[in-house]
Amino acid sequence: MNWRHKDLLEISQLSPAEIGHVFETAARFAEVNQRPIKKVPILKGKSVVLFFAEASTRTKTSFDMAGKRLSADTFSLAKSGSSLQKGESLKDTALTLQAMNPDAIVIRHWDSGAARFLAERLECSVINAGDGWHAHPTQALLDGFTLSRVWDSFEGKTVCILGDVAHSRVARSDVELLTMLGARVRVCAPRTLLPAAITTWPVEVFSDVGRACAGVDAVICLRLQLERQQAGLLPDLREYAGIYGLAPRHLEKANPGVKIMHPGPMNRGLEIASELADCGASLILDQVAAGVAVRMTLLHLYLTRSRVSA
């Protein structure tokens, strides 16, 4: 497949066929990652800047490892401790990055639309590693890839996304990807953690976790930001854990073989019972492994794209 996209900003840019291609390629890279020597030379001489304005050890490490396994040079640019101190505009950051002439920039930023902002101003590929509450397409692709390894098809499958959907870029991208592939999606959260126009989303909305999990094939738990309580969106965390935290009793009516996922890092005992995170149904560590393979795939596709058109 000729990859013609310059940037990866959100899932809706991709077609189901392109997502299928990402999964197939990721399966091959996943195999590479099982070898004793995990490095292949396909991106030798290419440079990738990891620009993480907002801290994220996990995603950043995953991209860093993905780049290195493909023999690309990766450079980290953190917001603090560099010349890109707070106060410099994102436009100036973009121009600084452009002057370094990298082949791709992976950006994580607290503002929705920040990845698009860079993409509109830079000639190199921009890969969105999470922008504000908006999108986290590589997480959605790795979630989808993880499920594709255990399911033959997404058709007829039901996935419940549990937790703070309103402020979750993971939820937005997962909903886009899962519905595009043919799965049915449910969301479950207190009303204060659902976006205003959730009824216009292609999802079923629940407030009772047990009911939301009845008949599902996978549950994706979202991380709860502890400051949501101070923001007046929740009474207290103990109550949240008791009512909305995923517990074994909620899965009694789930379909056999139900899978449990979490984008991490987890608050054990808050949004997910610790024993569920570690049980046989959990795909949480598979997600981490899939993350490296999917990001290798994306770097490969975007850095070797055909430049005929945008």
Binding site: D111, G113, G132, R172, A196, A197
Partner: protein
Amino acid sequence: MAHVDLLIRNVSWQDRDCDLLVGDGKVVELADAGTAQAPEARVVDGGGLTVLPSLIDAHVHLREPGQEYKEDIASGLSAAAGGGFGQVMAMANTSPVNDTASVTRLMLQKAVQAFPNGPWVRPVGALTVGLAGKELAPAGELFRAGCVALSNDGVPVENTELFRRAMEYAADFGLKVIDHCEDPWLGRGGVMNEGEISGRLGLKGVPTVSEAMQVARDILLASYLNLPVHLAHISCRESVELIARAKERGVPVTAETCPHYLLWDETRVGNYDTSVRVNPPLRTRDDVLALRQAVRTGVIDILVTDHAPHAAHEKEVTFADAPNGISGLDTALSLTYELVRSGELDFADIARLWCWRTADIFSLPANRMQPGDPADFVLFDPDLAWVASAEALLSKGKNTPCLDKEVPGRVMAHYLGGEKVFSR
């Protein structure tokens, strides 16, 4: 017959071909075309252009003192002159805030230095000291220095008791209070209309009820105190419905909206286009339709620009970081004329919405095309489209969604008190 020193031949006023006779800076007569005799007068050929009363903008931000890099009084007034505005009411959120006579006087001085024959700045004084919402600003002093109204525009007044006292105190000087209607909590941190699109873009929303809540509060106060209140930049259907009902009951409430709320909806935010980031935010199509009807029927009394110039680099940031505001003086008449072309409004509506009713509400002079009125008028070419390029915009603020787009209708000449203050 009165002395005539200027004769504008062959202009069109509300579908009538006229000659406009001016003497001593005042309208002498609107005569049938070709009939006027004025041998002493300077004669100008109006070329069949549309004549309109010079417009009044009751809501602009001129940025001086304090943020002259965005706009200053001279550049703001030159945009006013070219846009057809003879009087602009300048909001108090300058730096320092216009909460003392010295700031008011400075603004008036700067204006007269730059444009001795107008356009005129009509300062709006702060409602509370420093716009901080803690203590009343000296309304009497501001009135005597030349303020024509009071407003905390930009910063909603949280303390309802203080707002009530401001309405009461200002009334003794005949000053209207203009309220920026925004619940200080419901919309906090929001950057666009709350709804489907804010959900998709992952942007914090401002619900319509944040505005309507304060509209309801102000109407209840106006009704209880039997004192007037003017509601700024109304953006949504809920507010319109509250205002309509209040007016039916005779509550002394008046309201304004801006061309951008009549033309564009929240879909314009698209992929985080900061040129449409305004406060209140662009709402839904349904709100746009409600506002259009309210403007036609007089539920919304007047149009204003909420002219909010910003420097280019300030808008070239992420949507969440961008300041609110559209630079409006240069393009307001063209945007309103778009609604005339689409049959929503006519030229009589333009005169009412942009001049006569505004003059009523704030007790300002206006040209009603009657003998003795100030000879403040604009010659407008409805057939001339123009591109709102950065060079064509006279304001320092190029922050408009019309930038580099074609807009219809252009001001060709502008006279104030019979003196030409602008022509192209």
